[in-house]
Every structure is written in structure tokens, then in C-alpha cells.
């Protein structure tokens, strides 16, 4: 029993990062039917910002806001330079464009910095463990979960109460109709990229504080997880993305602790098979986007 609770805590810690990314991925899919594989590069830029500033001895308290801001700026820049031009193109072009940006980013970091990882020292708090009864609880997991919950709540409030939130929801329902009603396409999409960038920046900060290194390709794997989470939750559904991210994080931890070691290498494959089956039998995701209320 203690194992189960322990795994649950670990899983929710990892899952909250996935979920923060997945909400961004899902929101961008909602407004422009794009699965943005370049979204993971927002983590990479944050990592290099942290490396750059930390190696100059700047305090973590200053580093983290700048790292988050860099993700927001890069997200908006990618939209402005690339996606704005192909906004009405086919899903095919959108998807390939996002992959091209991803590879361009990898190559740029390799050329601009190096292909070998750049290390920075993680702060003390990142690995601090407190014993609560039978459980070993990592403080940073608790912080991650708390920050993520605050972000989800903030997102929900933003979508319900602000004009921007209303515009995003309207655009996700029917972009053309939303435009006819006076929603400015450029502003909504740019805003959605900024907001998704903010969530990615926060997810990145939570992850990177512990990770301790920056390397060109680091964004690819967490992004893949986030895309899977968004698909499980139903692309375009934000509550779905949260649930998808958290359940993926928890599932991973349980697989790791329960599966025999020679099967562990195949856990991702198992997830992929589940995804493929899901796509065939329930293309709309686990949550019916048609009827379920979207945040």
C-alpha cells in the first residue's frame, strides 16, 4: 500500500510537467489544428538560458523568470515567423513545418553552443527529501504539483473570465464563425502561442531545476509525452490534457516498478499501441469533445 501511494506521488510529480505541456499542445490544436512538435524546443531554450545565467553566477530567483520569459518569447516568435504563413495550409504542411522548426532548433544549438551537454548545478531544494510517516516525499515534487495545480486553475479562470479566454474558446469551436463575430485571428493565435509558451516555460522551470544540463535535443522526449497525453485526453480538450498528462506520469511510474526488467524497454511501445487503438476506436479521445464541457 505504501508503495502505491509513493508511486502515485512520484507519478503526479512527473505527470504535472507533462500536463502543463499537454495543455499548451491541446490549446494550439484547438485554435489552429496544429500538433506543434516544436513546442518542446521551448524547454531547450529555457535550459540554455539557465545554463548561461547560472554559469555567470546569477541567482536562481532571477534565472527562473527569465527562463520562463524566454519560452514565451520564442513561442510567439515561432508563430510570427513560421506558423502565421502556413495557418490556412493543410494539416500535412503544418505538421511538417513544426518538425522542421524542431530540427532547425537542434541544429542551431549544436552550431551556436555545442552538441555536448552543458551542465549547471541544481539547487539544494531540488533533491531535498522529507519523511512523512512511511513516505519519502521529495519537496520538489510537492512544489511541482502545487505550481501545476495553480496553473490549471489559472488557465480555467482565464478562459472563463477574460475576453482572450472567450476568444480562444470560440476559436476552438469554430474559427471561421469566431472571426465573423469579430475575433481577431492574429491576436488570438499569437495569444494562444504566448499562453502555451508560458505554461511550457513553467513546466520547463520545474523540470530543469532538477535536470542539471542543457543539450540540443532535450526537448523532443518530454514533448512526445505531452503529445501522447494530449491525444489521450482528446486533442483540443484542455481538461482532457490535464488528465492525460497526470495519468501518463502515474502510469509510467507504475510500469517501471511493476513490470519485469526485460519488458520495461517496451513500455513506450505498449503506450503507442494503446494510442493507435484509441485513434481507431475513439478518434475524439477519451473525453468526448463534442459533449464534454471544454474549460
Amino acid at each position: 500500500m505504501t508503495d502505491v501511494v509513493q508511486n502515485l506521488i512520484d507519478g503526479l510529480g512527473a505527470g504535472s510537467t507533462y500536463a502543463l505541456l499537454a495543455v499548451g499542445v491541446s490549446m494550439l490544436f484547438g485554435v489552429m489544428h496544429l500538433v506543434n512538435f516544436a513546442h518542446g524546443e521551448l524547454l531547450t531554450v529555457g535550459a540554455y538560458v539557465i545554463y548561461g545565467m547560472r554559469s555567470n553566477g546569477i541567482s536562481w530567483l532571477a534565472v527562473i523568470p527569465v527562463a520562463i520569459a524566454s519560452a514565451v518569447v520564442l513561442s510567439m516568435l515561432i508563430e510570427l515567423v513560421a506558423f502565421r504563413r502556413v495557418r490556412s495550409a493543410s494539416a500535412f504542411t503544418l505538421l511538417l513545418t513544426s518538425f522542421a522548426i524542431e530540427i532547425l532548433s537542434h541544429a542551431a544549438w549544436r552550431i551556436g553552443v555545442s552538441s555536448t551537454p552543458r551542465r549547471y548545478e541544481a539547487p539544494q531544494i531540488a533533491f531535498k527529501v522529507v519523511e512523512v510517516g512511511p513516505f519519502n516525499i521529495e519537496v520538489w515534487d510537492v512544489i511541482s504539483i502545487a505550481v501545476a495545480v495553480a496553473c490549471f486553475a489559472g488557465t480555467a479562470i482565464m478562459l472563463r473570465t477574460t475576453m482572450f479566454g472567450l476568444a480562444v474558446r470560440a476559436a476552438s469551436e469554430d474559427f471561421d464563425a469566431a472571426r465573423l463575430m469579430g475575433v481577431k485571428a492574429n491576436r488570438v493565435i499569437s495569444g494562444a502561442f504566448a499562453f502555451a509558451g508560458l505554461l511550457a516555460g513553467i513546466a520547463g522551470a520545474l523540470w530543469l531545476v532538477r535536470r542539471g544540463q542543457a543539450d540540443p535535443r532535450m526537448g523532443a522526449e518530454p514533448l512526445l509525452k505531452a503529445v501522447i497525453a494530449a491525444i489521450i485526453g482528446g486533442l483540443g480538450s484542455l481538461p482532457g490534457a490535464v488528465v492525460g498528462g497526470l495519468s501518463l506520469g502515474v502510469a509510467e511510474v507504475f510500469f517501471r516498478s511493476w513490470l519485469p526488467s526485460d519488458l520495461q524497454g517496451l513500455t513506450d511501445s505498449a503506450v503507442f499501441v494503446v494510442i493507435a487503438v484509441l485513434f481507431v476506436v475513439r478518434p475524439q479521445g477519451l473525453f468526448d469533445v463534442e459533449t464534454a464541457e471544454r474549460v
Binding site: A82, L96, I103, L104, I111, S269, V280
Partner: protein, 624 residues
């Protein structure tokens, strides 16, 4: 597609299109093979000035071209993005390796492999053939899933497949040797085999594009919805394209491992997939010429940037070492092309088609169509299927009743008008008839047959339509827009006599424009092309959704005559929808008036014009 049934008395029922298509395919085949030889000669020339690494570069280019063409067969013809084909190639390549690696080597590398694999030792050629068979089988299984979904879902499923193949290869160490490569694959020396492989791939890709399946697949690529309305089913052409593409990439994969002499899980990676896709997309995925040009462009560009990135002494200057420059070139050129020329550098350009146009342009303008004039041929016998009728047909969206228990009847050979103010439910009614919208109540009958199911089934049963907002197949030529539907008619409407593609083009006044891409036609011509395309299906009923929308009254008047001529020529009844009372009363034998989803009145044009309820509906609410 072949065969020569032409009845002497009436119009030839065999269209001339397949013959011209065959000539075009031949021209394309010859031209692209010559292009391949030119590329190859250029590569050999470059290699003769340098080290043996350049020999390998030429071989690499040819093998990559095979893989690119495999992707082209599926992606280029269906417009669906697949990441999974290198996964298929990987399975095939592993099969080849497992069958062909000498038994004594396998005893060391993978002594515990199942199914007696360590004892097997086949000739590399036999092993390759079996591997391609396995590739086809895998492609078929994956295709059954991927081709059923559309767009994004298919892409994601294939992406997942690629990841799964890699993980299994990494983890089934007993079978694959895991991350340690499986080496000692018998190697192919020299370059002639690579040239043969590339030539095979070019041939398959060209022939597939001009095959019946290829043409249907391209129609679904151009407009899935319109293709369905013309009786074209999406699934089978897409599946077949997936499998043929799978066979070609497996050939490429098998050649690749025989050129390298070893195989590992990371050999057919996601990064390699992006390289191959970049070659395809940069050059232009829609033609074989585009695939060849893209492969050469990326290969040359990577070679140049690799040279520059290695820090050469060049132009009297020591260049800095730049790690990752080829990747930057790859991603940069892919991005620039996607943002500025999404159809690739060459777009629709095919060398063979271009040369043929040049040659024919200087001799005589298309000889096919001038042979047929309008009066020479009698109209085909009218349809005998019976009336098109609906019984209490209705649909509700949420709480909104869009079409409310409409019962009506279109008699064979007549022109029936359906009219009503904007929002009366006219287009929804057509969508109910054609199966784009599922009714919540009521039935549709064509003669004795109850129409239900997917749009393509209903089209094959005998109703074809045009769209209010034009949906021609934009990149296809005017002729091919009609000819591809004629193909469907041959398979599914052969009990009706056809008037032939050429005559339909003459009727539409498009004979002179037959070779132009449909997207370059003006509005009125696109409307008439849609009618010609719908007529090519040899329907019992032609459903025209607002054929005069956006036209001046002079053009509308012209359209009246045009619709009559086409209907008579193909012997079909017509249901025409419009909100223009003048146009409808001019053209129709009978008229049904819809208002707020329900039938308001029905009768001859005279009766309708005098009906006070119609006048009320029209002057009361329709003129806003």
C-alpha cells in the same frame, strides 16, 4: 482499363482518355528514367574526381531515391503524411539480414534466435525477395488501420509504428542483436545494382500514378468530399497506395542494409525519416520528377555543407569547423520550402508531361476532341431506373429542425426545381439525399432501391451532384477531372451508356481548355466543369446545388440552356436547387418550394408563380 467496346451506331462508350493517359505515362516513364540516368552520370563524374567516399555517396543517393519514391507513391498520391514507411523498411531489412547473414556468424551474433533462424542461410537475392514480401504484409496490416482514419490520425498512427519498430528492435536482443548491430550482411559491391533499384522504383511510381488506383487516389487527395460524391471510395485506393509504397520502401531498405553490410535499430530512425521526407517535400511530392530533383538537391546541399562544416582550406581561407551545418541546411531548406512553396520546388511539374506538351503544342492542338462535334451523336437513352423520391425525410441539428418531413418525387427525365429563400434547408436536403448528412427520419428511394450509406455508394447507385461552393479537383487537368469520374462510371455504371469524356468537354465548352489545371479556370468554367464531371458518372439523376450562384442574369440564362443540353445528352433527370425564382421557372418542369425546412408548395412553374403562399414567402422574407 483496357478493352475496346465501342458500339457502332452511337457515341463510342470507351473514352479516349485511357489511351492518352497511357501515352502520358509512357512519356513520363521515359523522361524520368532519362533524368535518373543524367543524375547518375553526374554523380559518377563527381565520383571520378575523388575518393571512394564519393562512390558511396552516389550509391547512397540512389538508395535514398528508392526510399523517397516509396514515400512519394503514398504521400504524393494521397496527400496523407506517413512517418511509418521507414518502419516497414526496417522490418523488411531485418528480415533480409536474418535470412542472409551466414549461419556461422549468426551462431555468434544471435545464437538464441527463435524459429530456427540461426540455421537459415539464403542467397541474398532470395532473402531480399522474401523481405519485400514481408514488407508488403506489414504495410497491409498497418495500412488497414492507417488508411481507415484520415489526416492527422493516420500520421500519428504511423509515427507510433515507427517508434514501436525501433523499440522492439532494441529490446528483442535475441532476434536483432539489440543496439549492437547485426553485421556480416552479404554486401553488394559497385553501383549498378543501385541504379537498377532506382530504375525499378521510378517505374513503379510512374506506373502507379497513371494506374486506375493511382488516379482515384489522387482524386481523393484533391478533394475527399467531392471524390466521395463522384462515387470514389477513399479507403481502397489509399490502402493500395500505402502497400505499394511499402513495397518500394522495403526494396530501398533491403538495398540500404546490403550497401552498409549491417543493420541496427537506429538505422531507420525518425531523423532519417525526416531526411527522406525533406527530399520528397523540397522537390515536390506530387511527381516523380519532383522526388528525383528533391533527392539530388538535398544530397548535393548536404555534401556541400558537410564540406564547408569540416573546416576546409577553401578560397585561400581556413574555414571554421561547424558541427551540424548539414542538419541546419536540411531543416532550413525544408522550412523555407514549406513556408514559401508548400507544393515543393517543382509543384505539379513532371518532365514527361512537360516535354509532351512542348512537342504537341508545336504540331497540332489536341486532336482527340475536335473529332467530336455536338450534332454528330445522338443522346444516350434516358434512365429507366424510376423516380427519385423522399418520404418524410428530415433532420434535426440540436433543437433546430433543418429539414422537416419532406416528401417529394422527381420523375425520370424531368428537370425538377427546389427553391426557397436562404436558410430554407435546400443544401441540407441535397446533403441528405447524397449521404453527407444522416437523416433523423424518413427514407430516400431511387426507383425500387432504398438509398442509404456512404456518399460514394449513393453516387454509384445513380445520383451525382455539384457543389454550391465549387469543389473541382484543383490540381488535375480539366480533362482528368472528368476522366477520373468516367473511370468510376466504367466500373459501377456500365449498364448506362456514357457519352464519353470528349463530348462532355465539348458540351461544357471546355474542349480547348482540356489540358489546363482546373484551378486556373474562371468561375463560370469551373461551374460547367463540375456539371460535366457529375455527368461523367452517367447518373440517373443530376443534383445541381445553386449552379447560378454568383452569376449575372445573362450567364444564368446561358446556364439554363446548358443544363438542359447536358441532361438530354446523358439521359438523366435533374434536381436543381436555387433561390433565383427566374432561373428556376425558366428551366424546370416541376418545382417544389421549401420554406423553413418544410414543403410549402409543389407544382408546375405557372402554378408556383401564381401561388399566394409562395409570393408571400418570397416577397415577405426572401428578399432581404
Amino acid at each position: 482499363m483496357t478493352g475496346t467496346t465501342a458500339s457502332a451506331a452511337t457515341a463510342p462508350s470507351r473514352p479516349t482518355a485511357p489511351a492518352s493517359m497511357r501515352r502520358l505515362a509512357l512519356a513520363s516513364l521515359v523522361a524520368n528514367l532519362v533524368l535518373l540516368l543524367v543524375v547518375f552520370a553526374g554523380g559518377r563524374l563527381y565520383a571520378s574526381f575523388g575518393s571512394s567516399a564519393r562512390d558511396l555517396l552516389v550509391v547512397d543517393l540512389l538508395v535514398n531515391l528508392v526510399l523517397v519514391l516509396g514515400f512519394q507513391v503514398f504521400i504524393g498520391n494521397t496527400g496523407v503524411l506517413s512517418f511509418g514507411h521507414l518502419g516497414i523498411a526496417s522490418v523488411g531489412a531485418y528480415t533480409m539480414a536474418l535470412l542472409a547473414v551466414p549461419a556461422d556468424r549468426k551462431a555468434v551474433l544471435i545464437p538464441n534466435a527463435p524459429w530456427g533462424i540461426p540455421e537459415i542461410e539464403l542467397h541474398p537475392f532470395v532473402a531480399s525477395l522474401i523481405a519485400i514480401g514481408v514488407g508488403v504484409l506489414v504495410a497491409l496490416l498497418l495500412g488497414l488501420v492507417a488508411a481507415r482514419t484520415s489526416g492527422l490520425a493516420a500520421t500519428m498512427i504511423t509515427l507510433a509504428f515507427l517508434a514501436i519498430v525501433r523499440q522492439v528492435a532494441e529490446n528483442r536482443k535475441d532476434l536483432t542483436g539489440g543496439a549492437q548491430n547485426l553485421s556480416s550482411i552479404p554486401r553488394l559491391d559497385g553501383w549498378s545494382w543501385a541504379l537498377v533499384g532506382a530504375a525499378i522504383a521510378v517505374t513503379v511510381a510512374v506506373l502507379f500514378r497513371s494506374s486506375r488506383t493511382g488516379r482515384l487516389a489522387v482524386a481523393t487527395r484533391e478533394d475527399e468530399l467531392a471524390a466521395g460524391a463522384m462515387g470514389i471510395e477513399v479507403f481502397s485506393p489509399r490502402l493500395i497506395a500505402f502497400v505499394v509504397g511499402g513495397a518500394v520502401v522495403t526494396l530501398g531498405g533491403v538495398l540500404r542494409v546490403q550497401s552498409l553490410g549491417s543493420i541496427g535499430p537506429s538505422q531507420f530512425s525518425f531523423e532519417f525519416t525526416i531526411l527522406i521526407l525533406a527530399m520528397l517535400v523540397v522537390g515536390g511530392m506530387r511527381t516523380v520528377t519532383g522526388a528525383i530533383v528533391g533527392t539530388v538537391f538535398i544530397t548535393v546541399g548536404k555534401e556541400v555543407t558537410r564540406f564547408l562544416g569540416d573546416g576546409p582550406d577553401f578560397l585561400g581561407f581556413r574555414w571554421p569547423v561547424i558541427d551540424g551545418l548539414p542538419d541546419l541546411f536540411l531543416a532550413g531548406s525544408l522550412l523555407v520550402v514549406l513556408l514559401t512553396r508548400p507544393a515543393g520546388l517543382l509543384g505539379e511539374f513532371d518532365l514527361g508531361a512537360w516535354l509532351r506538351r512542348r512537342v504537341r503544342g508545336s504540331t497540332s492542338p489536341s486532336g482527340d476532341s475536335s473529332a467530336v462535334t455536338e450534332d454528330e451523336v445522338a443522346p444516350v437513352p434516358a434512365s429507366t431506373t424510376g423516380a427519385l423520391r423522399t418520404d418524410g425525410l428530415g433532420v434535426t441539428f440540436g433543437g433546430f429542425i433543418a429539414v422537416d418531413e419532406v416528401t417529394m418525387r422527381v420523375e425520370p427525365g424531368t428537370i425538377h426545381g427546389l427553391i426557397g429563400p436562404n436558410g430554407a434547408g435546400k443544401t441540407t436536403f441535397v446533403n441528405l439525399l447524397t449521404g453527407l448528412v444522416t437523416p433523423t427520419e424518413g427514407t430516400v428511394h431511387l426507383g425500387e432501391l432504398e438509398l442509404n450509406g456512404a456518399p460514394y455508394r449513393r453516387a454509384r447507385a445513380g445520383i451525382s451532384r455539384t457543389f454550391q461552393n465549387l469543389r473541382v479537383f484543383p490540381a488535375l487537368s480539366v480533362r482528368e477531372n472528368v476522366a477520373v469520374v468516367d473511370l468510376v462510371a466504367h466500373a459501377h455504371r456500365s449498364h448506362r451508356e456514357g457519352v464519353g469524356v470528349d463530348r462532355l468537354l465539348v458540351l461544357a465548352g471546355l474542349a480547348e481548355l482540356a489540358e489546363r489545371p482546373a484551378s486556373t479556370l474562371d468561375y463560370g468554367n469551373q461551374r460547367r466543369l463540375e456539371i460535366a464531371r457529375a455527368a461523367a458518372l452517367r447518373p440517373d439523376y443530376l443534383l445541381l446545388d445553386e449552379p447560378t450562384s454568383g452569376m449575372s442574369s445573362a450567364e444564368s440564362l446561358e446556364m439554363v440552356g446548358h443544363v438542359r443540353r447536358v441532361a438530354t445528352a446523358i439521359g438523366a433527370g435533374v434536381l436543381v436547387i436555387d433561390h433565383d425564382l427566374g432561373f428556376i421557372t425558366n428551366i424546370c418542369d416541376r418545382i417544389t418550394v421549401l420554406d423553413q425546412g418544410a414543403v410549402l408548395a409543389e407544382g408546375t412553374p405557372d402554378e408556383i408563380q401564381r401561388d399566394p403562399r409562395v409570393i408571400e414567402a418570397y416577397l415577405g422574407s426572401g428578399h432581404g
